[in-house]
Symmetry: C2
Subunit: 83 residues, 2 copies
């Protein structure tokens, strides 16, 4: 089973890296881009010994405690083949 | 309209950062994690003047030319509110 975790800066937190990418895209003549925000993406491969509920709990715990800085970041995740 | 772009290392490319996270999780007694791979995640906010086809083409061009190193990385993306 795989878990996909998406970590992003909270909407109220300034994202200078995203702004730099946006600035570069604008200079390179790409059209119609209003904002860019960069985040992190993790793919966790989970042991098949975990059932869907245990996997969900474990991934949520890891995302909260390890992968995310709760002061400035938030996360979402989903499980693939969760049945 | 928003575009979500996910950039990951190709499966054949070593991911030392993911391995480090995996090692840390194992030391911290998290159970059932077999592999961790880290990627990048971009959220592009697109102008409403682009229709879905133009947005798709533009995001694909940006992801290919700017956000991804085609030698070692691959990307997927999807558009939100694409209709």
């Amino acid at each position: 089973m795989k878990a996909h975790v998406y970590v992003t800066l909270k909407q109220t937190v300034l994202d200078p890296q995203g702004q730099a990418i946006h600035g570069a895209l604008t200079k390179m003549q790409y059209q119609g881009i209003e904002e860019v925000r960069q985040g992190k993406y993790f793919v966790l491969t989970l042991s098949d010994s975990l059932d869907a509920a245990a996997a969900k709990a474990e991934v949520e715990r890891i995302a909260t405690d390890v992968l995310t800085n709760p002061v400035i970041e938030q996360f979402t995740f989903h499980l693939e083949d969760a049945n």
